[in-house]
Structure formats: C-alpha cells, structure tokens
C-alpha cells in the first residue's frame, strides 16, 4: 500500500526552531501538509478538529507533555490508531520504555539527522 504523501502531519514542539527544522525536512521528503502545535493540549485540540495521518511530538513541553499527549491519543476512540513518533532529547531507557508502554510507534533522539527521520517515518507509515 502506497503512502499518502498528501496526508496531514502534526508536529509538536515548544521550540519554534525545531518545528521549523522538522517542517523543512518533511518538505524535503515530500510532505507538504504540515501543521504545528507548541504543546500537547494544543496538539490534542488540533487532532480533534482535523484529520491527521501522523503525529511527530517532542516529549518535554508544558503544560501537556508529549507522553501525556500520547496517552490521550491512545485513550481516544477516534484517535487511538493514529501513528505517533516521539522526537525528544529524553534518551533514558526508562523514557523509551514508558513511551513504548504508552503506545508510541517509534522514537527519535535529538539531535537527529534527516536520514534517521526518513527511516523512522518509513517504519511507521511505510516506504515512500
């Protein structure tokens, strides 16, 4: 099954520069429909207002963190199957385990490169 390159992707990070970097890298990969949120609660609102094919979220944000957002997504009947990639500087084993237990599809540690982003995307939404 081919990947829908027109899918809406929501990127979530409290650092505007990081949002800009991820948006630009996604654009290079062919994904142009990218929305942004600066914390989990804003992201959750956007996810409930519009249909998205993927969430790429930071962990450490206020007031709602990335792991809290992930748990909310997995607890929501309409959103629970949404692919979710965590992209964060939190690199402890405990973090990865907690994210996996919460239902994350993949995990990228910052700082990351474009190749890693592409590989992780492919593993979650399929080759493109």
């Amino acid at each position: 099954m081919s990947v829908d390159m027109q899918m809406n992707i929501l990127i979530v990070d409290d650092y505007k520069t990081m949002l800009r970097i991820i948006r630009n890298l996604l654009k290079q990969l062919g994904f142009n429909n990218v929305d942004e949120a600066t914390d989990g609660s804003m992201a959750l609102q956007k996810l409930r207002d519009k249909e998205y094919g993927l969430v790429i979220s930071d962990w450490n944000m206020e007031p709602m963190t990335g792991i809290q957002l992930l748990r909310e997504v997995r607890a929501d009947a309409k959103l629970k199957a949404l692919p979710f990639i965590m992209i964060t500087a939190e690199s402890k084993t405990e973090n990865v385990i907690a994210a996996k237990e919460a239902g994350v599809n993949n995990y990228i540690v910052k700082p990351f490169n474009a190749a890693t982003l592409k590989t992780k995307l492919a593993s979650v939404i399929g080759n493109f």
Binding site: D13, Y15, K16, T17, M18, R20, I21, N24, L25, Q28, N60, A89, K110, P111, F112, N113, A114
Partner: protein, 216 residues
Amino acid sequence: MSGAVPAELVAKLSALKTRMPSYTKDEIQEVVTEMLSSMEGDLSEMNLKLYAEVESLARYIVSAKTEIAALRPDEIMSDHIPNATDELDAIVGSTEEATNGILQAMESLEGLTAEMDPAMAEKVTEAVTLVYESCNFQDITGQRITKVVKALKHIESKVDALVAAFGDEISKYKAAHPTPEKAEDPMSDKALLNGPQLAANAGKQDDIDALLASFD
C-alpha cells in the same frame, strides 16, 4: 546527712532490712548516702564537662553565623543569581534568533534549487539539509540552559531560607562592614571588561556612531 536521703528511699531501705535483718537500717542508709554523695560529685563533674561542650558549641555556632553573614548571602539573592538567570535567558534568546536567521537563509537557498540544474540542486539540498540538522543544537542548548536555570532557582530558594534565618547576623555584619563606595576609575582596564550586555543595557550602533562622530 540522713536529712539528704529522700523519705521514699528510707522506706525502701526499711523494707530491705526486713529481708536482710543482719544489717541495721542506719548502716544501709549510711552506705547508700555515701554512694549518693559520690554520685553527686561525678554528676557535677559531668555537668561541668557538658556545660563546657555546650559553651564551645555555642561559640562555634556564633562563629559560623558570623562567617556565613560575611559571605553576604543576601547579595547572592539580590545580584548574582538574578544576573546569572538573565544572562542565560539572553543566551537562549540570542541563539534562537540566530538559528531562525540561519534557517531563513537556508530556506531561501533551498527555494532557488528549482532554478538550478538537477546535479547542482542536489548538492545544494544536501548542504542545506546538513545545516538543518546542525540547527538541532538550539533546541538541545535551550533545554540544557533551562535545566541550569531550574538549578539556580533551587539554590535561590535555599539561599533565601538562609538569608531569612541569618537576617540579624547579616544586618549586623553589614553595619560593621559597610560596602565601600565604588571608587574605581570607570575607564580603568578592569572596569571596561564587562562582556556582552543584555539587550536592554546594550549600546545601539547608531548611538555609538553618533558618539564617534562627536569626536570629529
């Protein structure tokens, strides 16, 4: 001496005598009284030693309080920590601004690749991607600095408690050691070494140009 023996003890001695009739009440009382007198002597000596220790401890505490007051923890609260957090905030702000500038330039460059031949466009895109990746540093640096700011705020709260506890000592120390007026020459080499200024205090290029022009 018998007057110093409590009545309750005398009663107990009487009871004891009924079980050991070979000793008279007075004999037992005398032994016990002597023993008590001997213990009183020891207790006094112990008390003296204890008083001496307590006095030594009190002197140590007074000395420690004075030394702590001399460190002027109130200045840490009023000057050093706020300055440090302001500087760190400025670092986050300036790196964010610089990173946005770099990203803006790269986005413009990337926009030009549509007008380049494919081989050149690919090379430029690769270079731009490397810059995007390198700009990760701003996020990481920002998060690290945020951790340091949190640590400073924790220290600030502890010092705040210290200042509250040692307020009187600090006031006494300040009264006894008033801070001398800064008599240093503002044009001395040392006074001129201040490093980058926070945005609100920084001289503007226009003002500096105007000042330079005033020498002409």
